[in-house]
């Protein structure tokens, strides 16, 4: 497999990684950069467990060609909390018990992050649509939606 050097910003840090030219962004994040908070659930962009924020937009990293993010900013769940301080989205998910097995949680957090950075005053329907590409089999979504409504208030106050 042909290798290439990929330079991009991972959680605001510039990184330079040796990758396969046909690698998926998900594999680069997990196996090359070693950040395993981003999960693989389906491999076909349906479950959203691999969601990361690419240049401010949520994307399924299992169907993004890693080479295509040269020079761009990618944020994973590991980049949410700053110096030990949880992001309001993370705190709200804890406060609302909006997780169970937790496997889909990082993906939900990243979808919510992309939404609230763009629109800190979303309607309940806008929240639902923003996370409709993230499947969760445990929670029934109710506490997640409530958590993101709560987090939105924190984002508005910032």
């Amino acid at each position: 497999m042909k290798k290439m050097t990929l330079n991009f910003f991972l959680n605001d840090e510039p990184v330079s990684l040796e990758i396969d030219e046909n690698a998926r962004l998900l594999d680069v994040i997990r196996d090359v950069a070693g950040l395993t908070g981003t999960k693989e659930g389906c491999g076909v962009g349906e479950c959203g467990a691999c969601t990361v924020v690419l240049e401010g937009e949520s994307v399924d990293s299992c169907i993004v060609l890693a080479a295509s993010v040269e020079g761009k900013h990618v944020m994973t769940v590991e980049g949410l909390s700053k110096s030990g301080q949880l992001d309001p989205i993370q705190q709200a998910v804890l406060d609302h018990h909006a997780l169970q097995c937790g496997f889909c949680t990082p993906g939900f957090l990243m979808s919510a992050k992309a939404l609230l950075d763009k629109n800190s005053n979303p309607t309940r329907d806008e929240i639902k649509m923003a996370i409709a590409g993230n499947l969760c089999r445990c929670t029934g979504y109710q506490q997640l939606v409530e958590a993101f409504e709560d987090a939105a208030k924190q984002y508005q106050a910032r």
Binding site: G37, V77, G102, F103, C104, T105, M129, R137, Q142
Partner: protein, 774 residues
């Protein structure tokens, strides 16, 4: 019976929505799931599946695969000393040359990288001879059908036959004013946990112990398969349950199979091996919810009393047996629903087919049965010209009545829950109004369903468990038990139970998870038993540690100034402080007693075993005590049907459940919300489509589970009661939360359309055309 909060339970740690023990790890991405692990020198394993439903391997050539540089091993059934697993009468195959379903594995490989594994699998050449197969329940029981297992020539899994014989059903039918018969059929559905199966194995080169890091619902269960395939003692296998990404009954045998194959490769190549399933492999090899063919016949009196009930409940086991007999035990016990009927005769049994296999899945037969029974009840009421609510009131279980097993019940609150829920939703008047709709575009519907559910394992198998509690010198406490966190919040609930029993703050307790070399097998974390029965030993050990530490406090002289304190019985430990009964304001810190205990060599740990009173049924009649007690629930679903497309829009679900004691109300809510969505998928969109054993949908693009956009408005009502047979009075909720939702939706569809859906699910085509399109 009161709603949550109305009943004063006086707990200090329970009845509170404490934060999850594993919450911070899970929101930061730190939590490690099995697929996240990486070890030095680690290599990868993979499985070659036949894709055939029934076939014989005629020839297999692995030489090309073996010659690829970086491929470390290729193993077939011929190479493996024990390719047949230890699982009972029709056991799974770790590897096989006789393919019985599309997920069977004919070879495994090990290679340096994941791409090399794929390359090696593609390079294995296999020649098959296809054999005639049998795929549906109806075909399997036809005379002369091909036999899936020679030991079951007519495909009936005789060991899974559970009869109920109560009263005299012939006499009941003879007296009945009206006799009604119906047939219902349910589908395969997939657990759809978001984490696919994953295992990493490492063998210690010195002592040979095989360590398995796995996504197991039940680590001890996984250990059994690994020891079996390796031919070693169970004490030579150590299974760590890594953070589990959902299971719902699905990561039992399936993960046992992966772990066994992975451990075999690990020992063969002498390096750590990781094996993970793709979503497609997970669909193919993990168990599904058993499809059931349900035939019911009821005899009723004009006044609404059901006097006779006969039923045949046949489930499709698929190619191998996966707990079918245990599940059918539960299915027989619940074979006439939450109703008291004097004469009952039902038979429940499984049949083998060349399909993916049915197995445990949240409900363990109840979602299927209730989906049929609760529609049948309404069909009977309609024939009688009686409102279904009134008909249920007449026949539902009450204190002093008996269910199918003849057990006399107490603490029965189902009618109260049903009356509360139907009043709150204005069920009666909506139902009447919706019945009169004539629109050809959109119609609303409201549906009701009720259930009772035996708590824990009951007579299925012993509901025993063991637990350990260790106090440390700083006053922190470790607890350990063989029960496992599956995402439901077990560690959190157990920590609350331990804190309550010991008398320390919740925050001082830690429960790190299951390691099979650190604690005894406590049975599986299944059957909604974790909190209800599995935590009994945790409660017991908590009380024991409380007693030990009170004795230490007195013996170490912490109360020497209080003359009235003669012994441990004169002091209490609560919220992390000791004080005497007479002088509560003088407090002694738990941590001070811990510290002094350590340095004076006193016991500060305990292990306790809990064995519940026996549940014994007569196997020929099913009569006897099947469960210590039952949980009761009622769901009302409100929907809108698009009469022109068949689209069912689930708009509101009101769910009311008797949980005995809500150990952690937020966790209870989470169980119920999640259960509602799973029930909605079951009733409306979900079906693993099999055609002659081949699985059409193997990933989430065409296996349709509800998204956040599909979430209905949910109104959850939590009831408590003073039945104290579960841990601190708790009853099951994980499975009750989902089991009756599908039935309520099915009844709502009938209310809207006037057409019964007797084959699940009510997808677009079935609702519009009344049948499956193909």
């Amino acid at each position: 019976m009161p709603l949550l909060g109305e009943m004063k339970k006086n707990y200090r740690v329970l009845n509170q929505s404490k934060p999850r023990i594993d919450g911070v790890d899970k929101v930061t991405g730190r939590a490690h799931y099995a697929a996240d692990l990486k070890f030095v020198d680690m290599v990868y394993g993979g499985c070659l599946r036949s894709g055939r439903s029934h076939a014989k391997v005629v020839k297999m050539d692995t030489s090309k695969a073996k010659s690829i540089p970086g491929v470390l091993a290729v193993v077939t059934a011929d190479d493996m000393p024990k390719p047949k697993s230890c699982a009972g009468n029709a056991p799974y195959m770790y590897l096989t040359n006789e393919v019985k379903y599309a997920g069977d594995v004919v070879a495994i490989v090990c290679a340096e990288t994941k791409p090399l594994v794929a390359e090696a699998l593609a390079a294995i050449e296999v020649e098959y001879e296809d054999l005639p197969g049998v795929y549906t329940i109806r075909d399997a029981i036809k005379p002369g059908a091909p036999a899936v297992h020679p030991q079951y020539p007519d495909n009936v899994f005789t060991d899974s036959l559970y009869p109920i014989r109560k009263g005299d059903v012939e006499q009941g039918f003879a007296q009945a004013d009206l006799i009604i018969e119906r047939e219902y059929e349910t589908q395969y559905i997939e657990h759809s946990y978001i984490e696919p199966e994953a295992v990493v194995c490492i063998q210690n080169p010195a002592d040979g112990v095989m360590t398995v890091h796995s996504s197991s619902q039940n680590p001890f269960f996984t250990r059994r398969y690994v020891a079996d395939v390796l031919g070693v003692g169970m004490n030579e296998v150590r299974v760590f349950q890594e953070t589990l990404g959902g299971s719902f009954g699905g990561k039992e045998e399936g993960v046992g199979m992966v772990a066994a194959r992975c451990a075999y490769l690990c020992r063969l190549v002498g390096r750590p091996v990781k094996m993970t399933f793709s979503r497609e492999e997970s669909f193919l090899e993990s168990a599904k919810r058993h499809p059931f063919l349900l035939r019911y016949k009821a005899g009723v009196m004009k006044d609404g009393r059901i006097v006779a009930w006969e039923g045949t409940q046949i489930d499709n086991c698929g190619a191998y047996n996966n707990q079918t007999q245990f599940m059918n035990s539960r299915a027989s016990i619940h074979s006439c629903g939450a109703y008291t009927i004097p004469n009952v005769k039902t038979d429940t049994y499984g049949v083998f087919t060349n399909n993916i296999h049915g197995g445990a899945m949240r409900g363990y037969s109840s979602p299927q049965l209730l989906w049929g029974q609760e529609q049948f009840i309404e069909e009977i009421a309609e024939e009688l010209g009686m409102a279904p609510l009134e008909f249920r009131r007449i026949n539902c279980l009450k204190d002093g009545t008996t269910n199918a097993t003849g057990t006399v019940l107490d603490h029965v609150n189902i009618q109260e829950i049903m009356d509360y829920t139907t009043a709150k939703t204005d069920y009666q008047s909506k139902r009447e109004a919706y019945k009169a709709q004539t629109s050809t575009k959109k119609r609303k519907g409201i549906g009701l369903a009720i259930a009772h559910r035996g708590c824990g394992l009951g007579a299925e198998s012993p509901d025993a468990s063991g637990a350990m509690a260790i106090a440390n010198e700083d006053g922190s406490v470790l607890i350990n038990t063989g029960l496992a966190e599956n995402g439901q919040g077990l560690k959190t609930a157990f920590a609350q139970i331990a804190a309550e029993a010991i008398g320390v703050p919740y925050e001082t307790i830690r429960f790190y998870g299951t390691d099979t070399q650190a604690i005894a097998d406590s049975g599986m974390t299944v059957a909604s038993r974790g909190t209800v029965m599995g935590a009994q030993s945790t409660r017991k050990v908590g009380f024991k540690l409380n007693e030990i530490m009170r004795a230490n406090a007195v013996a170490l002289g912490f109360f020497k100034d209080q003359a009235q304190v003669k012994g441990p019985e004169d002091i209490v430990l609560e919220d992390g402080f000791f004080h005497s009964v007479k002088q509560p304001e003088t407090k002694v810190a738990f941590k001070d007693v811990c510290n002094a205990s350590l340095w004076s060599g006193r016991q500060m740990a305990a292990y306790e075993w809990f064995m519940p009173p026996a549940c014994i049924q007569d196997h020929h009649t099913g009569q006897g005590v099947a469960f210590p007690n039952y949980a009761y629930g009622c769901v009302v679903a409100e929907i809108e049907v698009d009469m022109e497309t068949g689209y069912v829009d689930v708009q509101k679900v009101t769910a009311s459940h008797d949980v005995g004691t809500a150990i952690n109300p937020a966790l209870v809510l989470g169980q119920i919300y999640g259960g509602i969505l799973m029930g909605q998928g079951y009733a409306v969109t979900e079906e693993v489509e099999v055609s002659n054993g081949k699985v059409r949908n193997q990933n989430f693009e065409n296996y349709i589970i509800p998204t956040a956009a599909d979430m209905p408005e949910m109104d959850v009502n939590i009831f408590e009661c003073d039945d104290d047979r579960g841990t601190f009075g708790a009853k099951s909720i994980g499975e009750p939360a989902t089991e009756v939702v599908g039935a309520a939706i099915a009844n709502a569809i009938y209310n809207a359309t006037g057409k019964r859906i007797r084959e699940n699910p009510a997808n677009l085509e079935r609702v519009l055309l009344g049948k499956k399109l193909r």
